[in-house]
């Protein structure tokens, strides 16, 4: 499903410098950023605050211009605007005209996106229902909570049924129920063949739903690849939980393998390398011990992320 289609979002050797202060000193916020998101996948773009996620997204949206490098969506240069009826964008903490109602603002975005007049009212109603705001359709946005505005933001990003959707911190301001709904919506978008590019801080969400991930730290991509492979790369140990382990067997295991033993009696946890699991199991069983559980200990995405952050700190 992922990584097998055509690249619909492509960023190559992207560099962005901002001029800051009275001396207009250059400050590099992106250095040589390259990645691709493929058709029909959920691509997670993660990084700590100030890493360059939003800057990259703004370049993709044509809001800021790169200093050098290239960025394209669906094969079109991001500086163009005509193809944008095929993309949807939810910015971080979206803000809308406070004196308009939810229905009016969605109708406005539908007009801008070229939704046919005869389909517009129906489409607006569909989207309001999809984000569970149909009850507030005719309320002015200035009365909306942060979570409700976030839902309006999601609705406007999807109003024209785009094939590529960019979401900047889509879970921001949402309660656990709202987060779950947005996760399900993103999965439904993928099921409908859409490509979703999601920038977020919430690593558990990325791990749950993203097919591929790029980790950006200090303006540079530190790791990228399939989510499963990234967390799988770090699988360095296995855990065997046993009971009634004899002292001789414990000594033999500690002497023969690179392990750590914890506990005693009814529950002894043996952490070891995956390649040694079978031999250790043999020793345990032969000594009369009982095996309760054997499991691989995978790195979480958080571990991978922290490793990337530490590596970036080391590069300073």
């Amino acid at each position: 499903m992922s990584g097998t289609g055509r690249a619909v979002v492509h960023v190559g050797n992207l560099v962005k410098d901002f001029r800051v202060g009275f001396g207009m000193r250059r400050r590099r916020v992106l250095s040589d950023v390259s990645f691709s998101a493929f058709e029909g996948e959920i691509f997670g773009f993660v990084g700590p605050n100030g890493a360059g996620k939003t800057t990259t997204l703004k370049i993709l949206m044509g809001l800021i211009r790169p200093t050098s490098g290239s960025a394209s969506i669906l094969g079109r240069n991001v500086a163009e605007s005509e193809f944008r009826d095929q993309i949807g964008f939810l910015p971080e903490n979206p803000y809308f005209y406070p004196f308009l109602t939810a229905r009016e603002i969605l109708d406005f975005y539908a007009r801008l996106s070229g939704v046919e007049t005869r389909r517009r009212a129906e489409r607006v109603a569909e989207l309001l229902a999809m984000v569970h705001l149909d009850y507030a359709a005719d309320m002015r946005l200035k009365t909306f909570s942060k979570g409700m505005l976030q839902r309006v933001g999601v609705a406007q990003a999807l109003i024209h049924d785009p094939s590529v959707v960019f979401l900047d911190e889509p879970m921001s301001g949402l309660d656990p129920i709202g987060r779950r709904e947005i996760r399900e919506l993103i999965l439904a978008l993928r099921a409908a063949g859409k490509t979703v590019f999601m920038s977020t801080h919430i690593l558990s969400d990325v791990e749950l739903i993203c097919d591929r991930v790029a980790i950006i730290v200090k303006g540079a991509i530190r790791r990228q690849g399939r989510t499963l492979e990234l967390v799988g790369d770090g699988t360095s140990s296995a855990q065997i939980v046993v009971s009634a382990l004899s002292a001789d067997a414990a000594d033999a295991i500690e002497a023969g393998f690179s392990v750590s033993l914890r506990g005693s009696g009814d529950r002894v946890e043996i952490c070891t390398e995956p390649k040694d699991v079978e031999e250790i199991l043999g020793i345990v069983l032969r000594s009369g011990g009982r095996v309760i559980e054997v499991k691989r200990l995978s790195q979480s995405l958080e571990d991978v992320f922290m490793e990337a952050v530490r590596a970036a700190e080391g590069d300073r």
Binding site: M61, R84, G88, F96, F99, L100, Y109, L112
Partner: protein
Amino acid sequence: MKSLIRILALAANTFREAIRNKLLYTLLGFSIVMIGAGVLLATLSYVEVDEILQDMGMAAIRLFSSGIAIFVGVGLIHNEVERRTIFTILSKPVSRGEFLVGKWAGLTFTVWLQLVLMAAAFALVSWLAGAPLAAPHALAIALIGFELMVLVALATFFSSFSTPMLSSFFTFGLWLIGHLSRDLYLLGQQSDQASVSRLAGALYAVLPDFEIFNKSLEAVHGLPIHGFEIGFAMLYAVGYSGFILVLAAAVFSRRDLK
């Protein structure tokens, strides 16, 4: 055609948002009170009461409608960027030029509506004071509408790259200069030095000439306002606004929206 639909959607949205803003009603209410007060004050005069009354009314309409156009116009683009409402709009198939033209058109409609309301208040007060307005007054007020069109374009231009404070200085400054530019040009033409005349001519070509839209004197004193003057003023307003908006689009297109 698609571009026109987008511009109209942006204009309609700007208009709708503006007319729901209570601040604008406060400004409009204040302006109408000031117009009425000014006109009634003029009735205290002993000579040419009707002319003074109408002159004060026309001047007050020009002043307050221009003030509102500058006040709202200078924040037009700046606020969109500051509040980040522009991000979702430009993520749609909307070019920055279309965005500027749509915002300009929406605000122009808004200030036109306010002009109509001010004119109605002026007409009512004049009628009550026994000096009812006639067709030339309506023409002169329509010309103020064209002046506002250019003024909103200038405010939009400055707002596309500057803060509201600086934009209001620039726009107000150009409004003042625009009412003097013709005099400066004529003064320059009387100079013995060719370089001075050329400089005055060049400045006049670039700076707006708002006196083209000022037919208050003719309206108040019953002097003729010719059709070609109206036509030229219309063409000038459309041409100058177009020139300023093209300039604004060129500047705004290069800007990073951080």
